[in-house]
């Protein structure tokens, strides 16, 4: 039980710590540094999300795990917003190129696409009750967007030459992919089911 928490702390903590020792930081302003770390933290949160929803973070119950998933989702939106805003302040034309999909950097469209997917999921999650989305509908919407978020974030991160140390970055990306695949296999997201784990739906 304790092992998964230690593994999670190492998977996120080590890349953050190594990035904090990067010599690149010496040539960057505080806003740029903040923006970069917001991006690393965002990737760490993308790792936490499937672990929570899969119920792997004992002793969190399925219910508490899902509650935490919602809050972490909100934190992810905030981290991405800081990432984008900070980079915009650092170099407005480069950020505008990225957001309009006209950037010369190959990783930008992956990051921007993941960003829109994150915002869309968060918005729909916020409106889920009001829209009266059934669990099956919600899953049908959320699963593909989750895949877009994970793949987009991982490719974005791997192609960037920045403050992150290469091996710890690759390990964090591998962990994100592994956690996502595991939760999708365990929950059999591709199967049509009327009920979701831990959720009671009135029989029709």
């Amino acid at each position: 039980m304790i092992l998964i928490w230690v593994a999670l702390a190492v998977a996120i903590g080590v890349p953050v710590a190594l990035a904090a020792t990067s010599e690149q930081l010496a040539w960057r302003g505080p806003v740029y540094i903040l923006a970069g770390f917001a991006g690393i933290v965002a990737l760490g949160l993308v790792l936490v999300q499937p672990l929570l929803i899969g119920g792997y973070l004992a002793p969190l119950s399925a219910y508490r795990g899902r509650r935490a998933h919602h809050w972490i989702g909100g934190a992810l939106v905030l981290a991405v917003a800081i990432h984008v805003a900070g980079l915009w302040i650092t170099s407005p034309p480069d950020m505008i190129d990225a957001l309009t999909y006209t950037s010369p950097t190959p990783f930008s469209p992956f990051g921007v696409t993941a960003m829109w997917a994150i915002f869309l999921v968060a918005l729909l999650a916020f409106l889920r009750r009001r829209l009266e989305l059934r669990p099956r509908t919600w899953r049908f919407i959320h699963t593909p967007l989750a895949i877009v978020i994970v793949v987009g974030s991982v490719v974005h991160c791997l192609l960037i030459e920045g403050t992150m140390e290469t091996i710890s970055k690759a390990a964090l990306c591998a962990a994100v992919l592994a956690a996502t695949v595991k939760v999708m296999v365990d929950l059999q997201v591709w199967r049509k089911r009327r009920t979701l784990r831990g959720e009671s739906v009135a029989r029709q």
Binding site: S91, D97, T102, P104, F107, E161, G162
Partner: protein
């Protein structure tokens, strides 16, 4: 704004073309063959090339304390004749300043062989790629902005080549 239609085929073709021209341009700049019977094709402005451009940077012997070399050639489209005395503006995010800051900008002139070479501070990665910016913007020929990327952040030089067409 131009609309770019992306599908697998033109993406592969474009990628291959970029790779090929990239290798040719980097490997044998002096021996680039004319693309067609019309002669040497003009260099297109690169996407993002004009970012953080400042008009009218002064001609300098060196930008800042130096330690890094930016070099290249300027030739005329068609016959490929070297263009002497052309003003090339250079800027980048370096160990001495960010891209938009005035001290990161400078300009130099090409020699009689159309070559230019300017010492500047070490370029470091910005926005995920170690890259420089160059501009030809003197008006006699069509303005071109280039944005070459270093193969590694550890490199201490970078090249960019201009083929200009009359404005």
């Amino acid at each position: 704004m131009t609309t770019v239609v992306l599908n697998r085929r033109n993406l592969l073709v474009a990628g291959g073309a970029v790779l090929t021209t990239g290798i040719v341009a980097a490997g044998v700049p002096g021996f680039m063959l004319p693309a067609s019977a019309d002669g040497l094709a003009p260099t297109e402005t690169m996407s993002g090339g004009a970012n953080n451009y400042r008009k009218g940077a002064a001609i300098v012997d060196r930008i800042g304390k130096g330690g890094f070399w930016m070099s290249g050639t300027v030739r005329r489209a068609g016959d490929g004749a070297p263009l002497a005395g052309q003003r090339i503006q250079i800027w980048a995010h370096t160990v001495e300043g960010q891209e938009h800051e005035p001290q990161s900008h400078g300009a130099t002139l090409t020699d009689k062989d159309g070559k230019f070479r300017l010492e500047m501070p070490q370029i470091i990665p910005i926005f995920g790629q170690p890259h420089g910016h160059l501009a030809y913007d003197s008006g006699e020929f069509k303005t071109v902005f280039l944005r070459p990327v270093m193969r590694s952040a550890k490199e201490t030089s970078l090249e960019a080549h201009f083929v200009l067409q009359p404005a």
